[in-house]
C-alpha cells in the first residue's frame, strides 16, 4: 500500500500535467514526437503508413524513462518485415510495474503506392491490470494512417489511434483509452536537414503542437532539436548514431514542472 498511494498520486499529477499522448503509446524517436509524417523511419504504435516505406527487415527496442521514475517507464519492442505485397510489423509495449501495468500488442500492415503515398492499418490488443479485481481487462484498438509525398522534399501525414473510442468497462469504472488524431508535415531543406511539424489531439486532453529539426551532421551522427507545447512548452534535444547496421537514438525532454524525460532506442537493420 505504501507504494500504491504515492504511485497513484504521482500518476494523477502526471496525467494532469502531461497533456499529451497516453503512457502506453511509446514516444517516438522523432524529435518532439513528430513521427506522423516521418517517411524515413517507422516506430511502434505511431503512424502505421510509414511502415510502408521500410525496405529492410528491422528489429528494435526502446526504453522511455519518464522523469527518472522507473514506475512511469514504457518499454517497447518492434519488428518490421517488408514483402512484395505488404509490409508487416509487430509491436509490443509495456507501461507500469507489477501492481499497475498496461500492455499492448499490435500487428500492422502497410503498403507504399509507387512511392507517392502509403497507407497502413494496425490492429492492437490493449490490456490493463486492475488490482481491485485482480484481473486483466482488454480491448481491441485499431489504428490507421496515411502518408502522402507531394514532392521529393514535402510530405504530409495523418494518423488516428483508436478512432472508434473503445473503452474498458469494469464493474466499478470505465477506463477511458486514448483516442488520438494527428496531422503533420515533413519538409527536407536538403537531404541532411529536415523540418517536421505535428498537431495531436487526444480527445480528452489538450491539443499538442510540436515542431522539430533533424540535422545529419556526419554519416554516423545526427542532431535533433525541437519543442512541443500543450499546457507547457517543453524543449527537446536528441542525438542519433548509426554504427554499421545499428541505429541508436537518445532523446530527452525537459518539462518545466515534472523534470527530465529520457528515451533510448536501438534498432538493427538486416540485409535485404
Amino acid at each position: 500500500m505504501k507504494r500504491i498511494i504515492p504511485f497513484l498520486v504521482l500518476c494523477f499529477t502526471y496525467q494532469c500535467l502531461r497533456a499529451q499522448l497516453s503512457t502506453i503509446l511509446p514516444t517516438s524517436t522523432s524529435i518532439a514526437n513528430t513521427s506522423v509524417s516521418n517517411t524515413k523511419e517507422w516506430m511502434s504504435f505511431q503512424n502505421p503508413a510509414t511502415l510502408g516505406y521500410i525496405e529492410n527487415t528491422e528489429i528494435g527496442t526502446q526504453y522511455e524513462n519518464r522523469y527518472l521514475i522507473s514506475e512511469l517507464s514504457t518499454k517497447s519492442i518492434q519488428l518490421a518485415v517488408p514483402t512484395n505485397l505488404l509490409n508487416a510489423g509487430l509491436s509490443f509495449s509495456h507501461f507500469g510495474y507489477s501492481l499497475y501495468h498496461e500492455m499492448m500488442i499490435g500487428a500492422g500492415f502497410a503498403r507504399n503506392f509507387s512511392d507517392k503515398f502509403a497507407m497502413g492499418l494496425q490492429f492492437n490488443y490493449y490490456t490493463a491490470y486492475f488490482v481491485a479485481s485482480n484481473s486483466y481487462r482488454g480491448a481491441f484498438l485499431p489504428q490507421m494512417g496515411l502518408s502522402v509525398k507531394f514532392s521529393s522534399n514535402f510530405s504530409l501525414g495523418f494518423h488516428t489511434f483508436n478512432p472508434f473510442q473503445a473503452n474498458i468497462q469494469t464493474e466499478f469504472v470505465t477506463k477511458r483509452l486514448p483516442s488520438v488524431v494527428s496531422f503533420g508535415t515533413e519538409y527536407f531543406f536538403s537531404p541532411e536537414f529536415v523540418w517536421r511539424t505535428q498537431v495531436d489531439k487526444e480527445l480528452s486532453s489538450n491539443y499538442r503542437f510540436a515542431s522539430g529539426f533533424e540535422y545529419q551532421m556526419l554519416q554516423q551522427l545526427s542532431v535533433k532539436l525541437g519543442a512541443y507545447g500543450s499546457d507547457y512548452l517543453v524543449p527537446c534535444l536528441g542525438f542519433g548514431f548509426v554504427i554499421r547496421r545499428f541505429t541508436l537514438n537518445l532523446n530527452c525532454e525537459l518539462h518545466p514542472v515534472l523534470g527530465l524525460n529520457t528515451l533510448a532506442g536501438i534498432k538493427y537493420c538486416f540485409k535485404k
Binding site: 503506392f113 490507421m144 496515411l146 495523418f158 488516428t160 478512432p163 488524431v181 489531439k201 480527445l203
Partner: protein
C-alpha cells in the same frame, strides 16, 4: 444451391467495368462537389435531389454550345452571368466552336470552369430540336430508372421505446411515441426519352412513420410527375407535381435559391420556368398542371395547383404551415393534410437579343385561415386565407454591364425589390453589386431569393462580390455584405444590423492537386441571453472562421484533407473556439466496379455558436451535411458497386462518437441513450 453461389460469385466478382460507368460516377462526384460549394455556407436544408437530378439530366443530354441559349446555360449553376454572356457572345462573334477546348479563348473561363463544363456540354452541328415524337422511338429509346433506398439508425431512439400495445392506458405517452418502425424507405421510378419526355413516381416513408397498420396504410408520401418539352407551340407541359421558378425569385421560386456562397458572382436564382418535381421534399412543390407556350419572342406560362398541406387546424384556423413532412405520431398524423391550398399563377416573359422583361403573378387560397400566434417578431407575417402577389423582373446587357432585378408587391401593398449588376472591366476581374429591400410586411408563400435568412421579408442590404484571377492557377474570390433588419426577427427583439465578409483563394497546383483557403467573418446582433431587462438588449455576435481544404489524386486513389477553425463571441465575453479536421480516402478498384469512400473526422466545438456543418459523400440522390457541436469524432464508409451494367448498389455506414461525457444524444423522441449514433443506408439502382 451450388449453382446459386456460382452465379452469385460470377455476378459479384466477374462483372466488368465500363468506361461509361466511370464517366457517370465521375459526373455524380462532380455534381456533389459543385453542390458542396453552395451548401458549405448554408445552414438551411437544400434540396439536393432536385439539384442532382437537374444536373444529371444535363449530363445525359449535353447542351450543344453552338446552339445554346441563355436559358440552357443558366442550368449550369457554377457559371456566372458574365461567363454565360461571354460564351454566347463568343459564339455569336466567332461562329461555331470547332472543339470544346476552344472555350479556353472565352474571356472569364479558366481550366477549372472548363473541366466542370465538359460533363454537361458538347459542340456539334445544329440539329432540329423539335422533331416529331414517334411512339415506337419512345418505347425503343426511352430510359427507365428504378431506385429503392432504405435507412436505419442502429441505436434505439426514445420514440420507439413505448409501443401503443405495451401501454394502452398511457394515451398521452402514446400520442407522442412513434407509430411505425425505425426504417426509412423510399421508392423512385423515372422515365425519360431524350430531353422531350420525363415521367416519374416517388413514394417515401420516413423513419417512425407507420407503413402498414391501424393508423396508416402504405407510403406516407406519394408524388407523380410528367413533363413534355417542345411539343408544337408548347415549350413545356407539366402535370402532377411540379415547380415554377420565375424571375429573381421574389414571387415564385420554391426551389433552392442562390445566395451567399464561394461562387460569389452567382447571387440570384435562375429563371427556369415550369419543371417537374421528383424529390422527396414534402412541401415545396405544386400539384396540378401547367404549360408554357412560345409566342414569338414571348413565353407565356400558366399553372394551377391544388394540394393538401399540414397545419394544426382548430375551428377553421391554423397558426403555421408544417413543412417537416413527418407523420410519425398520432399528434403529427392529426395535422396531416388538414388544409387545402389552391394556387393559380402565370408568367409572361419577353426576350430580345440583350434584353428580357417578365411579369409574374400568383394567387393563393387556403380553405382555413392562417392566423399566426402574433408576437413582435412575426407581427407582419401573413394572416388570412387569400393572397395575390405580382412582380416584374428584368435582365439586360448594356455595354459591359449585365443589369438584373425584380420588384414584387403583395395585395397588402407591401413591396420587395432586388436590383444589381455585374460586369467584367478586365478579363481576369469580375464584379457584382446587389441591393435588396424586402419590406417587413412582404410575406409570400413561395419566394426564395438572395437573403441573409430563409425568409424573404424584413431585410435590406447591399452586397459586393469580386472574382479575380491574378495569376495562372490562382483564383481569388471575395464578398462583403451589409444588411439591416428594420423590424425584430426571431431571436432578435429589436431592429438590428449585420455584416458578412468572405475571402477565398483557390490554387490548382497541378491537374491532380487543388487547394483553397477560405476566410469568413460575420458580425450580427442577437438578444443578450442573460439579460433580465424589460426592454430588449442586443449584443454583437462575432464569428470568424478559416478553412483549408486540399484534394489530391494519385492513380485510383483520391484524398481530401480539411482543416477548419473558428472563433466566436457574444458581446464582450471571451472568445470560444471550434476546430474540425478530416481525412477522406476514396479508391476505385481498377478491375472490379467497386468504389470505396472512407472518412475520419475529428471535431471540437466548445460552444453551440462554434458548430460546424460538414458535407459528406453519400448514396446516390443523398447528400449529408451533419452538424457538429461538442467534442468527438465521426467516420463513415461508403461503398458503390455495379453488380451489372444496369444494376448498382450503394451502402453507407456512419458513426458519430462524442467524447465530452454526454450520456444522452438529441432530445424528445429522437433521444438516444449513450454517446454513439450510427446510421446505415442502402440504395439499389436498376436502369433498363
Amino acid at each position: 444451391m451450388k449453382q446459386f453461389f456460382i452465379c452469385l460469385f460470377l455476378l459479384l466478382f466477374c462483372s466488368f467495368t465500363t468506361r461509361a460507368q466511370d464517366a457517370v460516377a465521375a459526373t455524380e462526384q462532380l455534381i456533389a462537389d459543385i453542390f458542396e460549394q453552395y451548401a458549405a455556407e448554408s445552414e438551411d436544408a437544400i434540396d439536393y435531389e432536385s439539384f442532382f437530378e437537374d444536373l444529371m439530366y444535363c449530363a445525359q443530354h449535353p447542351i450543344n454550345l453552338n446552339q445554346s441559349t441563355r436559358e440552357e446555360l443558366d442550368k449550369l449553376p457554377f457559371l456566372s452571368d458574365i461567363q454565360v454572356e461571354n460564351i454566347l457572345a463568343y459564339v455569336y462573334q466567332n461562329g461555331k466552336l470547332q472543339t470544346i477546348y476552344e472555350l479556353q479563348l472565352v474571356e472569364g473561363l479558366d481550366m477549372t470552369d472548363i473541366r466542370r463544363m465538359l460533363a454537361f456540354v458538347n459542340v456539334g452541328e445544329a440539329v432540329d430540336l423539335t422533331p416529331k415524337i414517334y411512339w415506337h422511338d419512345v418505347m425503343k429509346y426511352g430510359k427507365n430508372g428504378l431506385f429503392f433506398r432504405v435507412d436505419k439508425g442502429l441505436e434505439t431512439k426514445e420514440g420507439y421505446q413505448f409501443l401503443p400495445e405495451e401501454d394502452p392506458n398511457s394515451t398521452e405517452a402514446n400520442s407522442k411515441s412513434y407509430l411505425g418502425n425505425s426504417f426509412y424507405h423510399s421508392l423512385r421510378y423515372n422515365f425519360h426519352f431524350k430531353d422531350r419526355i420525363q415521367l416519374g413516381f416517388t413514394a417515401e416513408k420516413d423513419a417512425g412513420e407507420q407503413f402498414w397498420g391501424a393508423a396508416h396504410k402504405g407510403y406516407d408520401f406519394y408524388s407523380f410527375h410528367a413533363q413534355l418539352n417542345n411539343v408544337g407551340k408548347f415549350k413545356t407541359l407539366v402535370a402532377g407535381d411540379f415547380r415554377a421558378n420565375f424571375g429573381q425569385g421574389l414571387v415564385l421560386h420554391p426551389e433552392f435559391g442562390m445566395g451567399k456562397s464561394s461562387y460569389v458572382l452567382n447571387v440570384t436564382p435562375r429563371n427556369s420556368g415550369l419543371k417537374k418535381f421528383s424529390s422527396t421534399d414534402e412541401s415545396n412543390f405544386f400539384r396540378g398542371a401547367g404549360a408554357t407556350v412560345r409566342l414569338g419572342k414571348c413565353d407565356l406560362s400558366a399553372f394551377y395547383s391544388n394540394k393538401m398541406i399540414d397545419g394544426d387546424t382548430v375551428s377553421g384556423a391554423f397558426q403555421t404551415i408544417i413543412k417537416t413532412g413527418y407523420h410519425r405520431t398520432t399528434d403529427e398524423l392529426s395535422k396531416k393534410h388538414t388544409v387545402n391550398q389552391q394556387i393559380v399563377g402565370g408568367n409572361l416573359t419577353y426576350t430580345f437579343s440583350n434584353f428580357q422583361l417578365g411579369f409574374t403573378a400568383v394567387h393563393t387560397e387556403l380553405d382555413n385561415h392562417l392566423e399566426p400566434d402574433k408576437s413582435v417578431y412575426n407581427y407582419f407575417y401573413f394572416s388570412g386565407n387569400k393572397q395575390t402577389t405580382g412582380g416584374i423582373f428584368y435582365r439586360m446587357r448594356w455595354h459591359k454591364l449585365n443589369l438584373f432585378g425584380e420588384t414584387a408587391m403583395t395585395d397588402n401593398s407591401s413591396m420587395a425589390t432586388i436590383n444589381g449588376f455585374s460586369f467584367s472591366p478586365l478579363s481576369p476581374v469580375s464584379l457584382v453589386v446587389l441591393h435588396r429591400y424586402y419590406s417587413p410586411e412582404y410575406d409570400t408563400f413561395y419566394a426564395s431569393s438572395f437573403s441573409e435568412t430563409s425568409r424573404i421579408n424584413n431585410e435590406s442590404g447591399f452586397y459586393l462580390g469580386a472574382e479575380v484571377r491574378p495569376f495562372r492557377k490562382w483564383k481569388m474570390a471575395a464578398y462583403a455584405d451589409s444588411y439591416r433588419f428594420p423590424w425584430p426577427k426571431y431571436g432578435i427583439d429589436a431592429p438590428s444590423i449585420g455584416t458578412d465578409y468572405l475571402f477565398q483563394a483557390d490554387f490548382a497546383a497541378k491537374r491532380n492537386i487543388a487547394m483553397f483557403w477560405r476566410f469568413k467573418f460575420e458580425e450580427k446582433q442577437t438578444n443578450l441571453s442573460t439579460s433580465g431587462a424589460v426592454m430588449p438588449v442586443l449584443v454583437t455576435l462575432q464569428k470568424t472562421s478559416l478553412r483549408y481544404q486540399l484534394t489530391y489524386i494519385q492513380g485510383d486513389f483520391s484524398f481530401k484533407n480539411v482543416l477548419e477553425g473558428n472563433l466566436s463571441r457574444q458581446g464582450e465575453t471571451a472568445w470560444t473556439y471550434g476546430i474540425i479536421a478530416c481525412q477522406d480516402i476514396s479508391y476505385s478498384f481498377p478491375k472490379i466496379p467497386l468504389k470505396i469512400d472512407f472518412r475520419y473526422q475529428f471535431f471540437d466545438a466548445v460552444d453551440y455558436e462554434n458548430r460546424f456543418y460538414s458535407c459528406e459523400k453519400d448514396v446516390l440522390y443523398a447528400f449529408s451535411i451533419p452538424m457538429y457541436f461538442g467534442l468527438g469524432s465521426r467516420y463513415y464508409l461508403n461503398l458503390e458497386y455495379d453488380l451489372t451494367k444496369r444494376l448498382s448498389i450503394w451502402f453507407k455506414i456512419a458513426q458519430t462518437v462524442y467524447a465530452d461525457d454526454r450520456e444522452l444524444l438529441s432530445s424528445g423522441n429522437e433521444a438516444i441513450l449513450g454517446n454513439r449514433k450510427t446510421d446505415a443506408r442502402l440504395l439499389i439502382k436498376w436502369e433498363f
